[in-house]
Subunit: 334 residues, 2 copies
């Protein structure tokens, strides 16, 4: 991958190389931690694209590259979708960035961004769907975004976070996941965890359901309130927090007994996950609306087996109803 | 239901009663035709709402009513979701209709519609997910929409259509479905079938996949190029076409043999169905963005068991690959 990104990127070489080291380490280390627990291994596919040419498998001096890894049908993990992406491009006709970083249609009068701006984006994401419904679903994604050469104030930022979606609620798991992320945040600023915890609850809301996707974690976007080097260190620490935050929960729950009813409930929870991704997730909407990303790579985040059911509200007093209560009214875990 | 809608509607009483008769007959007759083939029956739930109050089950002098029916886990039909809806309301703050009927955010400068317009909408929809993968998925929905009292030119219209989504392609099934709908269209205008067939192909496109949802049928929206009485007769004929267009296909295919691999492919096809509904369907986006509809009712269209899989492209030369080819390049069936 280093070779690909080296061809891809322009200046500043130093920063882009550092970014690659951080995201690549997260990519490799997290895949390794997952494979250690499972009987299956990841299958990898690299997609590259030159300007307006279609996506091809392989490496042909691209300006966009996706490295996808998928682990499917494992004993512990039913599906893990992983992407490592680096894109150097120009916004397609009719789309632009606002200075906040939001992607908008360029013909609305209120747009204040740059039309046809060139940009650079890189990051890594994991969506982990365990087989056992007692193991929570997890998502982690960190990314860097830059407009032009990134030298204008506000024309670069970091984004991302990590969040947990339990199918059955174990309070101690939520507390552990938040504790590890708070410790990392506190190393850099006491304001970070409260802000990013609230940001996570606000972002992973499914408005039409009046529910959050899960018990949260941290999430931030357009983060550029310090120097790029300081924030790179912060994001590096975040990427390293994911394994100790999540893997102990997998080990603790993966061999617990469960019923077909528990499994069905997991499939319903995954349905909400799909609803969030397809109606609200910024990365997915960017992908769908810009037409600039490789669809197969973007849809690598989707769960395997999923269900919808009319009248899926659980009986009051049940474990499932307790989860819904927490999803409707996000808690402070620490 | 007549009683509910009678309370709900204002003038012109005559038209609204006629609309109700058409949509109610479709609702009842299609449910009956489905129940005749299955060992399960529909469960019905009525939701009503008064202005800003929350949704409640029952009948309490509402200005919005949903009658939902769901048949789940049947021998022939794995899930059928049905809605009958009548809503009399005002657009929520920040949303308006364009004169074309499109729902848009009201604060964009280019909006030419009425802010906070009152409207009336009624219609019936069916989404039918068979158990046997050889039986195609079907969707039918017809609706009437009116802004204000509907007397201004262009302030009322009909919309809807019927379309078929095969999991395995039987050309004669697609031809039969199109033939029945063309015959109904031709009774009213020779221009209707070509326009509405093309409209259906254009509407049920999943842009990020470069595929259509199925083999189409007919679809129209903002139809008001004749008198309301003439178009009511046309729509009535369309509602009556659905049973002869679809039910013979169910009877022909429901007892065919299939493998677990066929069933898995059905779940992947349903995944595309979900992608279309959540990213592109107008009714769903109206529901999600306006916050004005009962979420449970709107999500009654979702399939039961669904799958996503990384690298889900079928082997070339397979039956599954043949279907993909037709989805990528919609055909003229007649």
């Amino acid at each position: 991958m280093l070779e690909i990104l080296d061809k891809l990127t322009r200046k500043p070489q130093g920063l882009h190389e550092q970014l690659e080291n951080v995201f690549k380490q997260m990519f490799e280390n997290t895949c390794q931690a997952i494979e250690q627990l499972d009987d299956q291994t990841f299958v990898e596919q690299t997609w590259t694209r030159n300007d307006n040419a279609g996506w091809v498998v392989g490496n042909n001096r691209p300006n966009m590259v996706y490295v996808d890894r998928a682990l499917q049908g494992g004993s512990v993990f039913e599906k893990v979708g992983v992407n490592y992406v680096a894109i150097e491009g120009e916004m397609p006709a009719g789309m632009t960035f606002q200075k906040t970083g939001a992607l908008v249609t360029a013909d609305a009068d209120q747009v204040t961004g740059e039309k046809g701006a060139s940009y650079f984006a890189t990051g890594t994401s994991f969506v982990i769907h365990p087989r056992n419904p007692m193991v929570p679903i997890a998502h982690v994604n960190y990314r860097y975004f830059q407009i032009g050469d990134g030298t204008q104030p506000g024309y670069w930022w970091f984004g991302g976070g990590a969040d947990l979606t339990p199918v059955y609620l174990f309070e101690e798991d939520a507390i552990h996941f938040h504790r590890i992320h708070k410790d990392v945040c506190d190393k850099h600023s006491s304001s970070y965890y409260p802000r990013f915890k609230a940001g996570c609850d606000a972002y992973f809301r499914i408005p039409h359901r009046g529910e959050n996707r899960g018990v949260g974690g941290i999430f931030f976007d357009h983060l550029n309130d310090r120097s790029v080097q300081e924030l790179l260190t912060f994001v590096k620490d975040c990427t390293e927090a994911f394994i100790p935050a999540y893997m102990p929960l997998v080990e603790r729950r993966k061999d617990m007994a469960f019923t077909p009813e528990n499994k069905h409930w997991q499939h319903l929870v995954r349905g909400r996950y799909v609803e969030f991704i397809l109606t609200s997730d910024r990365g997915m909407r960017f992908g769908i609306e810009s037409g600039m990303v490789n669809t197969q790579s973007v849809f690598n985040c989707m769960p395997p087996a999923v269900c919808w059911q009319y009248n899926d509200q659980p009986d009051s007093g049940s474990q499932e109803a307790l989860l819904k209560e927490v999803l409707r009214n996000p808690r402070e875990w620490l």
